[in-house]
């Protein structure tokens, strides 16, 4: 971010004075959630930033006779949690709760959202549907603007640099009214809308007819679009869900303005615009009449279950896969292990420590693992291919055997029994035939060091069997196989193609689970990755499918940040049920194998199978994005309608 002059006025009057003096050299900053990002990316480099955080007089939500007044510095979090808005301007409260995530919502303000003027702005859309106006103060005094007067294009307003947004005013019509907001993005939080809609209704006194309907569509044009055709079709008609269903096509499809293919194809965005518009009006109607839409909404979702299994091998056949370790027992019985298996959160250091401690019968706390330094570590092939536990553990066991020999020599020389009699047990070298004959491991180590002049050191090299495959790919080519299975339950929204994983069970055969909590973590994390690939993580735009929806693989889909490369948030996953099956592996250290990569393997096919079970369509390339599902559903419906014999 480039340097700038910082000004922090403490009142509206002072702010207006500053803006008048600085003119177009100044950039106004409220919450900073857009402006600072642009400055960080150097998309803008203002000479002067006027920070409005000190204008406490602009933080309020209040009801005055027939209007709601909302100060420009009110945050999204305050809007979302306002009981007043939830009751009287529901669309705005719901929109606020759909903005970004809870952390950003503590910073971002309604005035900032209006000033930023993005066509995808959630709050803008709600204000439009609620027929709100914006109060602006500038060199020529105060004026009130309708949204179509304020917003003139994408990221463009009619404001001059000297203007300040002061307030949003929302009229409160009397009688039976309600409003609603609907948003569809790549995930449930931290997402910019693919399409969105907000609506408000005023019903006749008897509640039987739509007297006034406002439907605003977001993300589809240069600014907020009013679906006037849908609005006027409903006005004067019976206030029922059937009427909304009957006319909703007027808000989308061919009636939709042609949006750019951003975040989804233009085709898809227009298809769901109609659905979201209808649902926003339904939400508004439900509030006006006290209806419950739970059953109606549930009927649009189809459930299905899917299962898939996976097999995975430790490294490809014939791949060199050795691991070397240096392990030393110090004079106090503590253990130092040098190994090239790198900890990156998978828990390898914990597991290697456990195995070294177990092999030498010392407490976990007495083992220190040094890793991740190619300058000082013995050779390791790499922390890849789900091999760390298997090859690292086996190398540790070989090194431990060398250390034990030295400790047995020391015990034999000190205690007198035959060295073959000794074993390690809970911190002691013990004569297995005469358990009273024992000495602490540390003492044995010290005696070996200073009396026997033998160091308890193990230097070992483990090279798993992985011979190059012979004829017909036969031979002892793979050291270990891992197995995994997932059961997924999904709910598919047949109108939007959105798939939600409602339940997820995943199990791995990891051999002996050295660290059960770590295995669970691998299974849960793997399941999350798999669901991400299955449903929303677009890796690259290159797989052109001519049968797919038009404009589908637009280069705009190339992920450039954590918004476009949409990994799941906590809201996008069910509580994953992880399990492990401990089938002892004869080659594995303590019978252990692995739980890492395999845990991501069967989740996506299970989700795809569940989608097929739910709605009878198959998508063959990941991710099964809502538009691919909806396209497949429409193709299926057309095929079923086609006359027989064709």
């Amino acid at each position: 971010m480039r340097d700038f002059e910082y000004l922090a006025p403490q009142s509206v009057d002072e702010a207006l004075k500053v803006l008048k003096e600085r003119g177009s050299t100044a950039t106004v900053m409220a919450g900073g959630t857009d402006v600072l990002v642009w400055m960080n990316r150097r998309e803008i480099s203002p000479e002067c930033v006027v920070y409005l955080g000190g204008l406490d007089e602009l933080r309020y939500i209040r009801e005055e006779s027939d209007v709601l007044r909302i100060g420009a510095l009110t945050t999204q979090a305050e809007l979302a949690s306002s009981a007043l808005l939830q009751e009287k301007a529901t669309a705005l409260a719901v929109a606020a709760r759909n903005c970004a995530g809870p952390v950003v919502r503590n910073l971002a303000t309604i005035g900032g959202n209006l000033g930023t003027a993005t066509p995808a702005g959630d709050l803008i859309l709600a204000v439009a549907a609620l027929d709100g106006t914006v109060t602006v103060r500038g060199p020529k005094g105060e004026r009130r603007l309708r949204l179509d007067e304020l917003l003139v294009g994408p990221q463009k307003t009619s404001l001059v640099p000297e203007d300040l947004i002061i307030e949003v005013t929302i009229p409160l019509p009397v009688g039976k009214t309600g409003s609603g907001f609907q948003k569809l993005g790549k995930r449930k939080a931290m997402t910019i809308s693919t399409a969105s809609a907000a609506a408000s209704v005023v019903l006749s006194d008897d509640g039987a007819t739509f007297e006034k309907v406002i439907v605003a569509l977001g993300s589809l044009g240069a600014t907020v679009i009013h679906s006037t055709a849908f609005e006027s079709a409903l006005q004067g008609r019976p206030a029922t869900l059937e009427e909304i269903e009957k006319w909703r096509h007027l808000a989308g499809g061919d009636a939709c303005p042609s949006p750019r293919a951003r975040r989804a194809s233009a085709w898809y965005r227009c298809e769901v615009a109609a659905v979201l518009a209808a649902r926003a009006v339904e939400d508004a109607l439900a509030i006006a009449t006290g209806q419950d839409l739970t059953a109606q909404r549930a009927a649009k979702k189809k459930r299905g279950k899917g299962v898939a299994g996976a097999i995975y091998s430790m490294s490809p056949p014939g791949f060199p896969n050795p691991c070397a370790v240096n392990m030393q027992m110090r004079e106090d019985g503590s253990v130092v292990l040098q190994i090239g298996i790198v900890e990156m959160g998978q828990g390898s250091t914990t597991v290697l420590t456990q195995m070294a401690a177990e092999a030498l019968a010392v407490p976990y706390e007495q083992v220190t693992v040094y890793t991740a330094d190619t300058g000082t570590m013995p050779y390791d092939f790499g922390t890849v291919s789900s091999r760390g536990t298997f090859v690292g553990g086996n190398a540790i066991l070989k090194a431990a055997a060398q250390i034990k020999e030295v400790l047995y020599d020391a015990a034999s020389a000190t205690l007198g029994a035959d060295r073959e009699n000794f074993v390690l047990e809970a911190g002691f070298v013990v004569d297995k035939y005469d358990p009273e004959r024992r000495m602490p491991i540390g003492e044995a180590a010290r005696f070996a060091h200073f009396a026997l002049k033998k160091l308890p050191i193990g230097t070992a090299y483990y090279y798993p069997k992985s011979s190059a495959p012979g004829e017909n790919m036969q031979g002892e080519t793979i050291a270990a196989f891992y197995y995994h299975a997932t059961v997924a339950e999904v709910e598919v929204d047949v109108e939007t193609g959105v798939v939600e994983v409602s339940r997820l069970y995943a199990a791995v055969d990891c051999g002996k689970a050295i660290n059960p909590a770590g295995v669970e973590g691998q299974v849960e994390g793997g399941a999350m990755q798999a669901v991400g690939w299955a449903l929303r993580e677009d890796g690259h735009p290159g797989l052109v499918d001519s049968e797919g929806p038009p404009e589908n693989y637009n280069p705009d889909f190339m992920p450039v940040d954590l918004e476009s490369y949409a990994i799941a948030t906590s809201m996008d996953l069910p509580e994953i049920q992880a399990a492990f099956v401990e089938v002892h592996d004869p080659e594995g250290p303590f019978g252990a194998k692995a739980a890492g990569e395999i845990s991501a393997n069967s989740g996506a096919p299970a989700v795809f199978n569940a989608i097929h079970d739910a709605v009878g369509v198959r998508v063959y390339d990941m991710p099964a994005s809502p538009e691919k599902i909806l396209w497949a559903l429409q193709q299926k419906a057309q095929a079923e309608q086609a006359p027989a014999g064709r």
């Binding site: 400055m39 970004a100 931290m190 828990g347 770590g518 994390g525 999350m528 799941a568 809201m571 509580e575």
Partner: protein
């Protein structure tokens, strides 16, 4: 031009001179050496830099340091008067951290959540953590850890009030 600011960091008063283009994240990490808030996207998308500012969880990458005059900043370093805070304890006991990069930010988002809502539901915890991206855990253990910590804190609060 540098501005002198005064603020409270984890209970201790601080006075520093900052350039206006320094973010709170940069102030904490680069000027003051408090590296628990993590630098990642610097776009307000990942939540790894989350700190509590005057009682509210915010992305420290989206706050200019110069704007925190007179405010109180909490990072994970300030948690736990004696030993670990229940959130830290349950994150550790349940293995709720894997690579750990998101953990300090997630714990601060969780603390702000349970400070304001001591008895959150499972869904409320999920929503409360939805601004903090985690690539490792599938959020299963973090959500459990937050619920366990909230329960423990409620227990200690009611125990205290009984003594009174």
């Amino acid at each position: 031009m540098k501005h002198e600011i005064h603020f409270v960091l984890n209970g201790e008063e601080q006075t520093v001179s900052v350039e206006p283009n320094l973010t709170l994240l940069e102030l904490l990490r680069d000027t003051l050496g408090v590296t628990s808030p993590k630098r990642s996207c610097e776009q307000g998308e990942c939540g790894a830099c989350t700190v509590i500012l005057d009682g509210k969880a915010v992305n420290s990458c989206l706050v200019l340091a110069v704007t925190i005059e007179g405010k109180a900043v909490e990072t994970v370093d300030g948690l736990g008067d004696e030993g670990l805070h229940p959130l830290q304890k349950h994150f550790a006991e349940l293995s709720a951290a894997q690579c750990g990069y998101c953990t300090p930010g997630m714990i601060m988002a969780a603390k702000a959540l349970i400070d304001n809502n001591p008895d959150p539901s499972y869904e409320e915890v999920k929503e409360g953590l939805s601004g903090n991206m985690c690539r490792c855990t599938g959020y299963v253990k973090p959500v459990k850890a937050v619920l366990a910590a909230a329960e423990e804190l409620r227990g200690s609060v009611s125990a205290t009030s009984r003594e009174d």
